[in-house]
């Protein structure tokens, strides 16, 4: 099956196979601190469920490529055009080889590692847009966060662009769209075929340890109380992103003020006001108007950071009060 199967049902949930998840995790972790990308292979089954069975990494771009390539269709490194050619050829080669061993070779999306939850960037938007327009409207991007996957949490999220966002980009207009409606999160479940599940059961029972520590080592990481590094990082990021957003807003202010001045804000009368309103609207449709999408993406990202931090502090409160409860118990018992 080399062709992409077109279905009409939009994708509503993603079933990620353990093998693909482990491959993504391995690749992203090994390439720290650089952020990396790769391709997802799988199949769309009915009821809007997208099944992802395999993943493979994109290679690092070679330094000595002098050719310029025309299409950045499957380029995950959209900034480096020479890498796009490599990526495309690599992907075709890889898929051909995998075909020989009967792996599903439908490309259904791509994955990227993200740093502390930062995903809402123009690069990601453009790449996902090209996947959704060229490949299939059900292409998804899986984002894995190697930093936040600690203390027993697995941070693996799946997004796609909403139809509204796709339409807006294709129109090329500089219109407003609610930042919450740019990306749509698709729920991810981990699933495994039968043989793998039996292996997992054996591993869970500690059959393959060779005498080493048991595999349930992550259950106690959750009980860690240190909160500072996580909070500090988030606050740092929030500061810089809010600064960027403020700069963008200032650009808007500046532009509006110019428009108003050029349209002649001194004239009075209702007709003059209408003409001015129209001039302003046209002004925004011009090519040199500041792009709204960037500030919308920024506010989306800032909201994501705030949500992450709030979730974390919520849990932190719980753990802190539990610990203080234990300590008070100890005190009472020591005093008694």
């Amino acid at each position: 099956m080399a062709a992409v199967i077109e279905t009409n049902a939009p994708v509503t949930s993603v079933k990620l196979e353990g093998l693909a998840a482990l491959k993504i995790i391995k690749h992203c972790k090994e390439s720290l601190p650089t952020m990396v990308t790769g391709s997802l292979l799988g199949l769309m089954i009915e009821d809007g469920v997208l099944e992802i069975t395999h993943a493979f990494p994109f290679p690092e771009p070679l330094d000595d490529k002098g050719d310029v390539v025309k299409s950045a269709e499957d380029a995950a490194n959209a900034d480096d055009e020479a890498a796009a050619l490599e990526g495309h050829e690599f992907q075709l080669e890889m898929m051909k080889m995998l075909r020989e061993v009967n792996v599903d070779n439908n490309c259904v999306g791509w994955y990227q590692s993200m740093y502390l939850g930062s995903y809402s960037t123009p690069n990601l938007l453009d790449s996902q847009l090209s996947y959704q327009t060229d490949l299939s409207p059900n292409a998804v991007v899986i984002l894995y966060d190697p930093m936040q996957t600690a203390h027993g949490n697995l941070v693996l999220k799946c997004y796609r662009l909403t139809d509204e966002a796709v339409r807006l980009r294709q129109n090329g207009k500089n219109n407003f769209i609610n930042p919450r409606n740019i990306f749509q999160e698709v729920p991810v479940t981990l699933s495994n075929p039968g043989l793998v599940r039996s292996l997992l059961r054996d591993m869970g029972d500690g059959l393959h340890d060779g005498g080493a520590a048991p595999m349930d080592g992550t259950t106690f990481d959750r009980l860690d109380l240190s909160t500072n590094p996580y909070l500090e990082k988030h606050l740092e990021f929030l500061c810089s992103w809010v600064d960027d957003l403020a700069a963008e807003q200032y650009k808007f202010q500046h532009f509006t003020r110019n428009l108003r001045a050029n349209a002649g804000g001194d004239r009075k009368g209702r007709k003059a006001k209408e003409e001015m309103a129209q001039a302003i609207e046209e002004g925004w449709a011009r090519n040199d108007a500041p792009k709204r999408m960037e500030s919308l993406l920024m506010s989306n990202q800032i909201r994501t950071y705030c949500d992450q931090v709030e979730k974390f502090t919520g849990e932190g409160f719980g753990k802190l009060f539990l610990t203080s409860g234990l300590h008070k118990d100890d005190e009472k018992r020591a005093a008694a």
Binding site: I25, V101, R222, A277, S299, I302, T313, E315, F317, H327
Partner: protein, 312 residues
């Protein structure tokens, strides 16, 4: 045990199931320990599930690192092959090309061996062989690919004993007067290890198998409760052990006693005032950050409203 008469196209393979004695000095490789990552096992099972009709077993190449006495297997890929009777055909070009593609993405891995699933035994119904006569041919091919002696990993997918067996072998040749007669496959100790993030993913998958675990993996509080219950269980086990030693029911074991002593000592003794201060500090930090994030979100909605009204 295969007979020693040579058949065309293969050198017989002898299987030794006993753990190897200390390596004799003349061996070139002194590998005594094999560590495999779960991704390799999942990949092998996936390949096995997707094998061609009529293929008894599947093979593939193992990639990883060799570190003195330990070989760590971190990645693998499938290789198409066909075997019939005593003859084996392996996709050599495929192997080379796939290896090149893999090395593009990850330069640190090298070929350390090959894997295979268990082969159904034609002679005995329902039994599976781990090593076949053709295995030694394949092993020779891999010996030419890999710098050092290749490791052979066998995954038993037949689930005959209600368990999935994993075995690792290394091979040495049996020579009589410089005539190679057969290959002996010695079993090596194998263990499954993974990095922290892999462990988290595996745990999630193991938890997803049982309904109680699946509920826990979704809800943070449930997961926290499970962790604390586990910790409590372990503490109770340790305390009952100490109690029974004190009441002379069990003979004391020094190492266990020392371990318990060390772990109890590792808990820092904090004076109440110091603890209260720490607690208040953390609490204030968390509260402040929550407040800041709320303020930021309010500002965001204002800025969105402004953005929406531009141009009107």
């Amino acid at each position: 045990m295969a007979p020693l008469s040579t058949t065309y196209g293969s050198s017989p393979a002898l299987l030794l199931n006993t753990a190897p004695a200390s390596s004799t000095g003349e061996e070139s490789s002194n590998v005594s320990n094999v560590v495999v990552h779960p991704i390799v096992l999942l990949s092998v099972l996936d390949h096995h599930t997707r094998r061609q009709e009529g293929a008894g077993r599947v093979i593939g190449t193992l990639l990883g690192r060799r570190d003195g006495e330990t070989v760590e297997i971190t990645n693998c890929f499938a290789v198409p092959h066909a075997e019939r009777g005593d003859e084996v055909a392996i996709g050599k070009d495929f192997n080379r090309q796939m290896l090149a593609l893999h090395l593009r993405a990850n330069k640190l891995e090298t070929v350390v061996g090959w894997y295979a699933t268990a082969l159904p035994d034609e002679t005995a119904e329902g039994k599976f062989k781990f090593i076949a006569d053709t295995s030694s041919l394949i092993h020779e091919f891999y010996a030419s690919e890999c710098e050092d002696d290749p490791i052979h990993l066998v995954v038993d997918t037949s689930l005959v004993n209600d368990a999935m067996e994993l075995r690792a072998y290394k091979s040495t040749s049996v020579t009589v007067k410089n005539d190679v007669l057969a290959n002996i496959f010695n079993e090596i100790r194998l263990s499954v290890k993974s990095s922290e993030s892999e462990k988290i993913c595996i745990d999630k998958m193991i938890a997803g198998n049982t309904p109680a675990g699946a509920a826990a993996s979704q809800d943070e509080n449930e997961a926290l409760k499970l962790s604390m219950e586990k910790l409590l269980e372990m503490l109770e086990t340790a305390s009952t052990y100490v109690d029974s030693v004190l009441s002379d029911k069990i003979t004391p074991d020094e190492t266990i006693g020392r371990d318990i002593f060390e772990s109890l000592n590792s808990i820092p003794r904090i004076r109440p005032e110091v603890f209260d201060k720490m607690f208040n500090d953390s609490l204030q930090d968390l509260l402040m950050v929550t407040y800041l994030s709320n303020v930021t979100k309010t500002q965001l909605s204002i800025s969105e409203k402004l953005n929406a009204s531009l141009g009107k």
